[in-house]
């Protein structure tokens, strides 16, 4: 599968996750978010930025608790929980946010 954006072609897997992670850009994220009916706010970007930083170092998305704690630190303790992340990303912070962040889909019993 693939999609076109501003004249470029982006290959994805069956579920719409980017195959070539280097192709990711903010514009691509906006496009993927729109596909998911997610309106990107500053808080959404905090999640995406943290996911990408973590992935760059560890080649995998972080455990949910690492993510919630990091978001709590950035946006305030009352927002450092799973419930808040699901408010931002109703499709799940692991899967939907990873997709928009251009990370591969997490696999396994998740």
């Amino acid at each position: 599968m693939s999609f076109e954006l501003n004249g470029a072609t982006y290959e994805t897997d069956e579920d719409g996750y980017l195959l070539n992670l280097d192709q990711w850009s903010k514009e691509v994220a906006d496009y993927l978010a729109a596909e998911e009916d997610v309106e990107m706010t500053e808080a959404h970007w905090e999640v995406i930025n943290f996911l990408r930083e973590y992935y760059e170092e560890y080649k995998i998305a972080p455990m949910i608790r690492i993510l919630t704690k990091a978001i709590g630190k950035k946006l305030g303790k009352e927002k450092g929980n799973t419930k808040y992340l699901y408010e931002l990303y109703p499709g799940g912070p692991a899967k939907q946010a990873c997709k928009i962040a251009g990370l591969p889909k997490p696999t396994g019993c998740v």
């Binding site: 069956e14 009916d37 170092e57 560890y58 995998i60 455990m63 799940g92 396994g108 019993c109 998740v110």
Partner: protein, 499 residues
């Protein structure tokens, strides 16, 4: 955003649906890519002359596993199983009646392996192995979660799961694999876990947990990695390093070891208890995954293996490990191999080794969901029924409020969560939501009647599946809990008396 999936209204009743032929014929998992198949030693894609090869593989399985032949021959189509499958109850597709699902293989079996089917196929209900048949296999043998509820009601004890496993093995042998399972198996055999989490990430995750628990409790609980000479090798499903409420359960394991004063370690080489080799029905793949655990146990020079909350892997560990990779005579013979974390913790509680404050769980009103492969594929402890009684006794010892769901939906009659057997993948979401209907109904009943707000369980797939699908029924994902999360809430840290 995914479209909303229609669900039955929650009434607390599990009603047998009207039959809708072909209702789910379009449900199919993604096909495995060449690299996924080849990494497991299967052909990369559908091979030339696949029909003949598939029949050849069926013949091999029939001669290797007498059980499969017995299951092919014995069914009298009495229909006892027809309304016992959660996927039939949730979808109404008659091919999801276990008898009809098995019939997809029986028709082919009769055609090639019985005299009547060879000579007079039309009169024998025999059919050729064709592309259309393979399509039906790929669809409907991936609408079976291998939960074996139907087998409990079968007067002959025919095991549908074994039939589904054989069908998937045959499909893999001709290059028609399922992406979700084969990709995950590739990762566990390459990296050591289903997530593909490499050692630095695992180390970072465990360090985070240490800091987090200490911050919260003031007690330095360790979550060790690759420590040679530890007494216990803890093998958890890797979802315990990633998702919620899995991680809350894993946090609890560490607290239990801490209070018991037992040294333990996680292995980066074998950081996965799950074994999808069972789901794809392939003995050699299942053996290779299990072998990593034995190799890690030897390397780390541990005395015993304790395993975390994972349903199908408990079946593999309890029922198959000894055949796959035994004997475990290098471990301390005083302990069962493997020991389930629930039996380990309950024993410590009974002996007064760890101290508890049950009131920490007083805001919870808890029920227990039996996971299919624990309930029907294994035992636990040293008494029959231990797989039912030990988790319940453990919950009751850390919680004041416990309620059972309807008796037809618990213990050996439990319903699958709807995501077991290698079906926990997004493209099957509609099936997963609909297949969760029976459990959602039973849960709804105790939520309404008894004010239950927590459903505890000991399976990583069940936890992931329910947090994802229960919201479709209007039930919040926060009802889903790990059993050791309840332990973690109640355990008094620093009360350490040691074993």
């Amino acid at each position: 955003m995914a479209k909303k999936i229609e669900t039955d209204e929650l009434t607390g009743e599990i009603v047998t649906p009207n039959i809708e032929p072909g209702a789910t014929a379009h449900y199919k998992p993604n096909l495995a890519a060449q690299e996924h198949n080849e990494s497991l030693g299967f052909p990369g894609s559908k091979i030339e002359g696949w029909e003949e090869k598939a029949i050849g593989r069926m013949g091999e399985l029939l001669s290797k596993y007498r059980s499969l032949k017995v299951y092919m021959d014995t069914c009298v189509r009495c229909g006892s199983c027809a309304d016992k499958c959660h996927y039939f109850l949730g979808t109404g597709d008659p091919n999801n009646m276990p008898v009809a699902r098995q019939e997809l293989m029986r028709k082919v079996y009769r055609r090639y392996f019985t005299p009547g089917g060879k000579l007079l196929p039309g009169l024998s209900g025999a059919e050729d192995m064709t592309g259309k048949m393979l399509d039906e296999w790929f669809s409907y043998f991936h609408q079976c979660s291998q939960c074996r509820r139907c087998s409990v009601y079968c007067p002959f004890g025919i095991d549908t799961a074994e039939v589904s496993m054989a069908a998937r093995d045959i499909m893999n042998s001709v290059g028609v694999g399922q992406k979700y399972c084969n990709e995950v198996l590739g990762k566990v055999l390459d990296v050591g876990n289903n997530l593909g989490m490499e050692k630095p990430a695992l180390a970072n995750t465990l360090e985070f947990l240490e800091e987090d628990v200490e911050e919260e409790s003031g007690v330095a609980v360790r979550y060790p990695l690759d420590e040679v000479g530890a007494e216990v090798l803890l093998i958890a499903p890797s979802a315990d390093f990633f998702s919620s409420p899995h991680i809350e359960g894993f946090t609890g394991y560490g607290k239990v070891f801490h209070e018991a004063g037992v040294s333990w370690t996680v292995s980066s080489y074998a950081s996965e208890f799950a074994n999808f080799g069972m789901f794809v029905g392939n003995f050699e793949t299942m053996r290779k995954v299990a072998q990593r655990i034995v190799d890690a146990a030897r390397e780390l020079k541990v005395k015993r293996i304790i395993v975390g909350e994972c349903g199908h892997a408990w079946r593999v560990g309890y029922s198959f490990w000894n055949t796959l990779t035994g004997p475990f005579d290098f471990l301390d013979p005083k302990h069962r191999t493997p020991t389930h974390i629930c039996e380990f913790t309950l024993d410590l509680i009974k002996r007064g080794v760890i101290r508890l404050d049950k009131s920490a769980n007083d805001d919870l009103n808890v029920t227990f969901h039996d996971s299919c492969n624990v309930a029907r594929g294994s035992r636990m402890g040293d008494k029959p029924g231990g797989q039912f009684d030990i988790p319940r006794e453990l919950i009751r010892s850390v919680c004041n409020n416990f309620v059972e769901m309807d008796q037809d939906t618990i213990r050996e009659f439990t319903y699958c969560c709807g995501g077991g057997g290698g079906l926990l993948t997004d493209e099957l979401m509609e099936l997963r939501v609909k297949g969760a209907m029976p459990r959602a109904q039973a849960l709804h009943e105790v939520m309404e009647r008894n004010g239950v707000n927590t459903m505890a369980m000991i399976c990583a797939i069940c936890k992931a599946q329910f947090t994802k699908v229960l919201p479709s029924y209007g039930i919040g994902m926060d009802v889903v809990a790990s059993v050791h999360q309840l332990v973690s809430n109640a355990i008094i840290l620093g009360g350490n008396r040691g074993v």
